[in-house]
């Protein structure tokens, strides 16, 4: 019975998000004759004010921190809805809900919460995660950034790349290998302030920024550590699984919206004497999109539940959901571009942006080859 109440509450929240996108985000993105690539800080600030009124801020952060404190399953449902606009895949609801707060922040001390998390929430910002180095799907055990103890401090050397959401974050967390007294290395997480780093921005596929940092003798205090030494990789794995599920949910969001565009266009566009919607090729594209999106949605929802209950193979469920959702969304968006023809290639509709961003999502947070290898490892 309690489940039903949760479902009803979630349904109401989903409607709230839907209305929020329609009433605030779509108008904010709407600029006739202009090609909107991002929202200005003022617009985002305004959206955040409106979102707060609707009780939607820092969806994952605990309520006592000032967040909304929603479960992963609930966030997956809401972020699918929040992604349904031009900038939605990497800026759901136009960043109105603020930044991300990975689960490992639950490990933060009271001081850390006061110093980093609470100010971030009130600023509408979040936490970036610096994990990857050479490649975005590095094996977590073969990372090379190290920290050497010096009194109460650690001296960090190395580099991190493919850091996302840096602009939406007021602080971050870095995964490093700490040298123990016996000379061994153990992974740990440290809180970082963005202003102590030299940051390089790289624009991916003309649309989305990613950042890299070089760490040369960066000093962090041991009190900036999150969780125990040795716990770093496990905490990052949990973050990764959650992020994969949410990326999957958002991908389904933009693809579902793309399908709406596709259906409408197919019904009005006449070629060779009849609407596109009467051509079997087009009907099949639309039908397959609908079918595969529902399958992917179920996998995302299933993975979210498995992560929450730490069911066996929860990591695998997250990876599979991410892969299925991003590949499906990519195919859907590709088909919708095709249905639109020249209009699909043009930036007047958001489909053009989704086409670029879904290509990022496919290689983002582990790509197909890596995930396939992991699945094979487990089932064999």
């Amino acid at each position: 019975m309690s489940n039903t109440i949760v479902d009803i509450e979630l349904e109401i929240l989903k409607k709230t998000v839907h209305a929020f996108i329609k009433d605030h985000v779509l108008p904010a993105e709407h600029a006739p004759e202009k090609y909107v690539k991002e929202l200005s800080e003022e617009v985002v600030a305004h959206l955040q004010t409106e979102a707060k009124k609707a009780g939607l801020q820092a969806l994952h952060a605990k309520q006592e921190w000032g967040g909304t404190g929603l479960s992963l399953s609930a966030r997956a449902v809401l972020l699918e809805e929040a992604a349904k606009h031009r900038l939605g895949l990497y800026h759901p609801a136009g960043d109105a809900f603020g930044g991300d707060f990975p689960s490992f922040l639950d490990k933060c001390s009271r001081e850390q919460i006061d110093k980093y998390i609470k100010p971030a929430i009130s600023l509408g910002k979040g936490c970036f995660v610096a994990v990857w180095e050479e490649q975005e799907d590095n094996h977590l055990d073969s990372l090379t950034t190290t920290a050497i103890k010096d009194g109460t401090e650690w001296i960090i050397n190395g580099h991190k790349a493919f850091i996302q959401n840096m602009a939406q974050s007021s602080f971050g967390v870095i995964l490093v290998n700490c040298q123990l007294e016996n000379g061994d290395y153990q992974p740990a997480l440290f809180l970082l302030e963005a202003n102590q780093l030299s940051i390089k921005e790289t624009v991916m596929i003309d649309v989305q920024s990613t950042h890299s940092i070089v760490l040369e003798n960066i000093r962090v205090n041991d009190c900036q550590r999150v969780g125990a030494i040795g716990e770093g990789t496990a905490l990052v794995q949990h973050w990764l699984a959650e992020a994969q599920v949410l990326l999957g949910a958002k991908s389904i969001g933009i693809a579902t919206k793309a399908l709406e565009f596709g259906k409408q266009y197919a019904m009005i566009r006449i070629t060779r004497g009849k609407p596109l919607a009467e051509f079997p090729t087009i009907r099949t594209m639309l039908a397959k999109s609908f079918l595969n999106l529902q399958a992917a949605r179920l996998m995302v929802s299933d993975a979210a539940k498995k992560i929450e209950s730490k069911e066996q193979n929860w990591q695998l469920a997250a990876q599979m959901a991410k892969l299925q959702a991003t590949e499906t969304a990519s195919k859907v968006i590709d088909d919708i571009v095709q249905i639109h023809g020249g209009s699909g290639f043009a930036g007047d509709l958001p489909i053009e942006r989704w086409y670029k961003e879904i290509r990022i999502a496919r290689v983002n947070l582990q790509k197909a080859e890596t995930i396939m290898e992991n699945i094979a490892d487990i089932i064999l």
Partner: protein, 404 residues
């Protein structure tokens, strides 16, 4: 006759072109400006090098400064040039000017040739082709709505067009508009040459698009009571559809071969990355998954290349090759997209950064499945031909040894 070797003359041409690509084209890609290409001060001297080497404007007859060669040779050269987005501009064979040049050669009067073709062939001016309209399906040019009405010794054009590629900076447009609405769908339209400084011609905007390799943007343009002299009709009245088709045939050979060039380059990027970057202790190339990508890409590139050269060869024999041209259009465009996609997949997130040419090629490549007839249209054409051939029990054009 089966013969898969270039002639000595072709080999010399390709070697020379490859040398120019390596020495002058790839190193200058870094000066490329999105939607604008190379600045003139860099472009012009490079074009001169190509001219000095006799490789300029391969698609045009010699009398207009071109190379005057057959479709196979043109295709082979396009493959080399097409590897770089700036290649066609440096070699004087870029769309839409190449296609416009071909129409002018075929249909222009002597005066029109002097005024428009000569400077166009020399890249003193650029041009654009105004056919596609936002209001009607580009997959069906019989449905165009823009009109030209005769008024004394002038024509008055009223039309709204988009994807008029290269309009920004073009000296003239070739406009395809309805002159004979009562005629059958294939004879309703005619072509006109419109100077872009005509007060009735207006560039509404450059449409923002996925790819940024074409110079002069993909523009939305409007002809509003645009008056042009009678002598600016290109070809005969009612020939618009026919001439536009004529433009597209050879264009599809050069497109398809340029795609092969792009696909080959993308495959090379993939191989290069897979050999040097370590994933743990092994290279990516040690992984069977990447090996499969390489093998599949090689197979598709080779298949598409042979299909295209075969179509070109048939055209050199005087055949229209409608089926073959449609085959390479949709198959080649898909191969192009497949190979770039695998390359990006191999490089991962790095493949989407501006550190490699892949992301730009990926964005531009998506258009190939749409322009000059979407996949679906060409599949339809191929299926129709194949069905007809079967029904007529005539398979004369099949280059298969085994009768089916």
């Amino acid at each position: 006759m089966f013969h898969f070797t270039e002639s000595e003359e072709q080999r010399r041409m390709l070697d020379k072109a490859s040398e120019i690509m390596v020495k002058y084209v790839f190193p200058n890609e870094k000066y490329m400006v999105p939607h604008r290409g190379l600045p003139d001060e860099i472009l012009k001297p490079l074009q001169q090098i190509v001219k000095d080497n006799g490789l300029w404007a391969a698609h045009l007859p010699k009398e207009y400064g071109g190379m005057g060669m057959g479709f196979v040779s043109l295709g082979l050269l396009s493959e080399v040039i097409g590897q770089s987005p700036i290649g066609p501009y440096i070699f004087g064979s870029m769309a839409p000017d190449a296609g416009n040049g071909e129409i002018l050669v075929h249909a222009a009067t002597e005066d029109q040739k002097e005024k428009y073709l000569r400077p166009l062939a020399n890249y003193d001016i650029r041009s654009c082709f105004a056919m596609t309209e936002p209001e009607v399906s580009g997959s069906d040019p019989r449905t165009l709505q823009g009109t030209a009405v005769k008024d004394g010794d002038e024509w008055v054009i009223n039309a709204h067009k988009w994807y008029t590629t290269g309009a920004e900076g073009a000296a003239f447009a070739i406009a395809m508009v309805v002159t004979d609405p009562a005629a059958d769908p294939y004879h309703r339209t005619s072509l006109f040459i419109v100077d872009t400084d005509n007060p009735g011609f207006e560039i509404v905007r450059e449409v923002p698009v996925l790819g940024d390799h074409y110079v002069g943007g993909h523009c939305e343009v409007r002809f509003s009571n645009c008056r042009i002299p009678e002598k600016n009709m290109l070809g005969r009245r009612g020939e618009g559809f026919k001439l536009a088709q004529l433009r597209l045939g050879p264009g599809r050979i050069t497109h398809a071969m340029r795609w092969i060039g792009v696909a080959r380059r993308s495959l090379n990027e993939m191989i290069d990355y897979s050999l040097t970057k370590k994933d743990g202790k092994k290279t990516l190339a040690d992984s069977q998954i990447i090996q499969n990508y390489i093998a599949d890409s090689e197979a598709e590139i080779q298949a598409s290349r042979l299909l295209t050269l075969h179509a070109a060869w048939k055209m050199d024999q005087g055949d229209e090759s409608r089926k073959e041209v449609s085959l390479i259009k949709f198959y080649g465009a898909q191969v192009l997209n497949n190979v770039i996609d695998r390359a990006i997949q191999t490089l991962g997130m790095y493949g989407l950064t501006p550190n490699t040419p892949l992301e730009g090629l990926y964005r531009e490549a998506r258009a190939a499945r749409i322009y000059d007839g979407a996949d679906e249209v060409h599949r339809m054409v191929v299926a129709r031909h194949v069905l007809k051939e079967y029904q007529e029990k005539e398979r004369l054009n099949e280059p298969a040894a085994v009768p089916k």
